[in-house]
């Protein structure tokens, strides 16, 4: 069996007396894109910098093709795009050629490759423009072309779309996806946007407080959070503590996570499906309104349609409401993500209750 392109083994980075990164084991396979998700300060960028040999881990080791990866070996096969496109003074073309110069690519090859990559990323028309005159999206394209022109085996992306507006981000994301597929380049992308991760990544790793909490195939990770923190990162805003889950969903449910849209505030309803709660706050944000309710001292994120129904608007904070859980969206935490057993187990439990 061929070893992964890059493996992290017991990698720990300590700073200021605490571990800011703790990854027991993580492998990046050739030809796959791995997304690193996590809230701010989770250690995502630290992980990227370790993989790029920009940061020496306090302990642990990195293996490249199964052999210990020195800084020089790692630098030779990686190239990174940081969050802000940090371009040099000079033309777009000279910027795209920067990395190749560091890698001592012969001049004629360099010119050919820079022209090809500028065409590929739609910036050929900007070749002679000064880099300082570009828009954010154009600059990020230059930054991406510059990293790809090195023809790395592992491309490292640190929230490359974070500063871009939605349409620009969408286009660039689509282009990047094509490029990665065409070239077979492996990539590690740090992001806090799970839609981006879902769109681009084959595998996902979730970090929290520097710890690698979960990793696996993207679809499995997105659908089966391992713990409450992973659940929140993966968009399951409501985590029912086991006491509540067992009361509502039956014995042995454990902690259960739901997305706010699957946890709806209703005026009234069948007591078996709509559970009593206390209204705490309404935040009309986005296509659904976020409604914070409280049950037995636990704050839960629920949702209501927009515009917020009159009855809900009139119901004051501290007054009773009911919440209805859509069981299709409920996920038991810590369930085995690979088998998908979590979903069926919960689904049948919910069905059982509905039929009773």
């Amino acid at each position: 069996m061929t070893p992964p392109l890059l493996e992290l083994e017991h990698v720990v980075v300590r700073a200021g007396g605490r571990a800011i990164l703790d990854v027991p084991a993580l492998g990046l396979e050739a030809g796959t894109t791995t997304g690193v998700l996590g809230p701010n300060g989770a250690g995502k960028s630290t992980l990227l910098r370790v993989a790029a040999a920009l940061l020496e881990p306090t302990s642990g080791r990195l293996l490249l093709d199964g052999r210990a990866a020195s800084r020089v070996r790692l630098r030779a096969v990686t190239s990174a795009v940081l969050q802000r496109p940090l371009l040099r003074r000079g033309s777009v073309r000279s910027n795209v050629e920067t990395g190749m110069r560091f890698h001592r690519v012969p001049r004629d090859v360099m010119h050919e490759r820079s022209a090809a990559w500028m065409r590929r990323l739609g910036i050929a028309g900007l070749a002679d423009r000064p880099a300082t005159s570009l828009s954010g999206g154009e600059a990020q394209r230059v930054s991406l072309a510059r990293a790809l022109a090195v023809e790395p085996r592992l491309l490292l992306l640190d929230e490359p779309f974070a500063a871009l507006d939605a349409p620009t981000r969408g286009e660039l994301l689509a282009d990047l996806r094509e490029v990665l597929a065409d070239t077979g380049t492996a990539a590690l992308m740090v992001t806090h946007d799970r839609d981006e991760a879902a769109a681009l990544c084959d595998r996902l790793a979730v970090l929290h407080d520097g710890e690698l909490r979960q990793h696996g195939p993207a679809a499995a990770v997105l659908d089966h959070p391992a713990d409450p923190e992973c659940a929140r990162t993966l968009g399951f805003d409501t985590v029912l503590p086991s006491r509540l889950a067992e009361r509502w969903l039956g014995e042995g449910s454990g902690e259960v996570a739901l997305r706010a849209v699957d946890c709806q505030v209703v005026e009234d309803g069948d007591e078996r499906f709509a559970h009593p709660a206390v209204l705490r706050r309404i935040v009309p944000l986005g296509p659904v309104a976020r409604v914070v309710v409280e049950v037995d001292g636990h704050a839960l994120q629920a949702s209501a349609p927009v515009p917020v129904p009159a009855w809900l608007q009139e119901r004051g904070v501290g007054r009773p409401v009911r919440i209805h859980l859509r069981m299709e969206g409920a996920r038991r935490l810590g369930g085995s993500p690979a088998t998908g057993e979590t979903e069926s187990a919960l689904g049948s439990a919910a069905h059982g209750r509905r039929q009773s």
Binding site: L54, R75, A80, L82, R88, T98, G99, F102, A147, V150
Partner: protein
Amino acid sequence: MDVLWEAITDALGLLIGGDGETYEIIARSLRVSLTATLVAFLLGLPLGMLLALGRFRGRRLALAAVNTGMGMPPVVIGLLITVMLWRSGPFGALELLYTPTAMVIAQAVIAFPLVAGISAAALQQVDPDFRVQMEALGATRGRALWAVAVEARLPLLAAVMAGFGAVVSEVGAAMMVGGNIAGQTRVLTTAAVLETSRGDFAAAIAFGLILLLIAFSVILILTLAQQRGRR
């Protein structure tokens, strides 16, 4: 007004007339001050880099010391170098006092904190992640540092200009360590002082004007290099 007019015609006469001694003084001024600036740059840039990009205990204190050095009076530095090079001083055996080399040393010491301090400020203007990004594209540490310096080339040239401007125009240290010996260590500033003390204002002003012209020419060349590609 007559004195000034006379001075201007004198200066033109000295420049165009091909007075051998004047040319020699001009050449020596340029040679001493440019060499001193170069030495100050070669030593000041690495120190500026260290102060701007390094992480070590006492960095801020060192930076404050360098910034204080920017305002050091040339006379004090001249005095210090004179004492060092004095026959009975620690470097007396080198017999450098009253030579152009001594002048270069003194002027380099004057320009050094200027170059280092302004370089440090210039390099700190570059985004700290820029160096990281260069390394992330495969640059060695040295290459990445060089890329930062290239990125800061406009303010770094300003550091060079400030250094050259300071030394070409100073007279105290040049007089003290050089001694204003005709044909050996006389430069434009010391010559101007001498002519003034002799009461030959026209000659003194003429030297002053030539000094101004030379300083302007050198700075103009540096400015054109700095502003290349801009209108």
